[in-house]
Amino acid sequence: MKRVLGLVSGFDNPLIIKDGVSRMRSWRAPLGITLYLGLLGAFGYAIFTIQVLTAQYNSSASAAIGGEVFAAMAFFQLALISLFAPALAAGSISGERERQTFDVLLVSRVSAFGIVWGKLIASLAYLLLIILTALPLFAAVFLFGGIDFEQFVLTQVITIATALSIGAVSVFFSALFKRSLPSTVTSYASAFAMVIGSAVAGLMLSYVASYRSGATGSSIEGHPVLFGNPLFALYIVLGSPSGAPVHVGRLLQLLVLSDGPAANWGPTIEPWQFSVFSELAVTALAILGAVLLVRGRRALPLRRRPLVVEAAG
């Protein structure tokens, strides 16, 4: 019961309510949802049309079309969310500074964590709403078959974890920079590095590791950098129903590029699990960094910054 109350109190944050009310009263809120659903729907319909025109009609054609359309939409959704998250979170704290409301927040009882958490959840709430509104589009694909429920759920989990990590990193930059412009630019650069950069780097490192171990073709193993990438995780979830589990020992071995026989110690982990875990770790670090930055804006208690009392006059 205490845990439930703690969880509820974490969401009983005035900043979440204020930002939520403020955002949803803006014309940008419905426009953003419309734009998102329009793009996703149009993209899904385009893929569907191409698939129908090029498909050979047999008993498995419907399932193949369904699987292809769902996969395309899932990747497109991940890309859209990666673009939306920095836009929503990168100005969250720097915007308070620019609006000259930050000092007033700092003299209130809201803790540094409360400010960072409130800003993150307020930004993510809108993203979650967007993801939620897109569920019927994804559900429509079930009419064709080719996708099972587990794949559907894991797709959403990977997308939400990506949104969370990019949002948290954007909030961190928002606490780091005084202005929203540099915060937004660095947030987009970070989102690009986390989604595209780590995929490219991970692929290159995977080839290097495979070359060193003499593996070729389909036996190339995913490097941990690739393993933690959400695009790769999505690719495995949608392409391989059995997943691609790897021992944690092997991942660590690849991380340090050590030669020798493949380690098989430790539990096995699938790309989506490793990706979600990595993104949660990035989220935790970004929140911690942002909290420390916000705390630094307040006068610290005496034990951290001693005041030397000098005799007046």
């Binding site: 409301t101 009882r109 006068a299 005496l302 007046a312």
Partner: protein
């Protein structure tokens, strides 16, 4: 209630505060006066727990700011010199949001917001979006915002800056009302005639140093010797002005006579009888058009204390 002892603060190579000391008794309104960049905002930010001091001791209600900032924040309501408002929130929602930030119980927030809107005369604007309010209304709303947790001390940094005369009068009356409610108020401002009427205590700061501090009358009397009278004659031709100047000089108790174009400003002792001077001018066949005390003694004190060589006065 507010105590500052030997406060020092440096920003890079610039010494922003140099041994600043003053105290404000409970229930008083303290006018914090000084030119731009003198250190007023820095001092207020230290008291509001927004900036650490390099050395010295600042305390509110006996609690050192550096010891327990959270407890100090409970005692203090802070209104910054520049502030913004949130878009798309009504005045009532705005106050309820800050009430929540200050830990006011959920079932009391609405009532607190409405009471404060009533106090600052914005009750009829409770459903108006704050970004559409006039500047004067926003200032009053911000003052109300600083009161949501019923603080004992108010730190108001230039609360009347940029306001039109009517809004300034409203703000001044509001601050007086808050004093009647038992608040201790530190207010910084450049509008000295208003501070003179409003404040019971005053402190002058210049280039990071306190140059005078104490009860208003005491500081004024210490800094400004004598009072000034403005005298204007019906005829301002050269002969009349020369005759008048001579008559004023002849009068005992007149310390100085300054000819200011078409009128005179006369410095007299504190116990000088003004009506006798007026009678003296009439006896000298001079037709007096106006005879009044020059307002702005605080302004004169401010100019004297913050002008060249002010260090000697300190």
């Amino acid at each position: 209630m507010i105590s500052v002892e030997a406060l020092r603060k440096r920003f890079g190579r610039q010494q922003a505060l140099e041994d600043v000391s003053f105290s404000v008794p409970k229930g008083e309104i303290f006018g914090f006066v000084g030119p731009n960049g003198a250190g007023k905002t820095t001092t207020i930010r230290i008291l509001a727990t927004l900036a650490p001091a390099d050395s010295g001791l600042a305390s509110i209600g006996g609690i050192p700011v550096g010891d327990d900032p959270a407890a100090v924040r409970e005692l203090v309501g802070y209104m910054p010199d520049f502030f913004g408002v949130y878009d798309r929130l009504t005045a009532s929602e705005y106050l309820e949001f800050y009430a929540a930030c200050h830990g006011v119980a959920r079932n009391r927030r609405r009532r607190v917001a409405l009471e404060l809107l009533e106090l600052v005369d914005l009750a009829d604007r409770r459903d108006t979006q704050v970004d559409t309010l006039s500047r004067g209304m926003k200032q009053r709303l911000c003052l109300a915002r600083s009161l949501v947790h019923d603080p004992k001390v108010l730190l108001l940094d230039e609360p009347a800056s940029g306001l039109d005369p009517r809004a300034r009068v409203e703000m001044r009356e509001l601050v007086k009302e808050l004093r009647r409610m038992g608040k201790t108020i530190l207010v910084s401002s450049h509008i000295l005639p208003e501070l003179e009427e409003l404040c019971t205590w005053v402190g002058f700061i210049d280039r990071g140093r306190m140059v005078a501090v104490g009860p208003m009358e005491q500081v004024r009397n210490r800094v400004v010797s004598g009072r000034r009278l403005r005298i204007e004659l019906v005829e301002a031709d050269e002969d009349t002005m020369v005759r008048a100047e001579q008559a004023l000089h002849d009068r005992e108790g007149v310390l100085a006579v300054d000819r200011m174009g078409d009128h005179f400003e006369v410095t007299v002792g504190d116990d000088f009888e003004d009506d006798e001077l007026l009678a003296h001018l009439v006896h000298s066949k001079l037709r007096v058009k106006s005879f009044s005390a020059v307002a702005g003694d605080l302004a004169e004190a401010f100019m004297r204390l913050t002008g060249p060589g002010e260090d000697d006065l300190a």
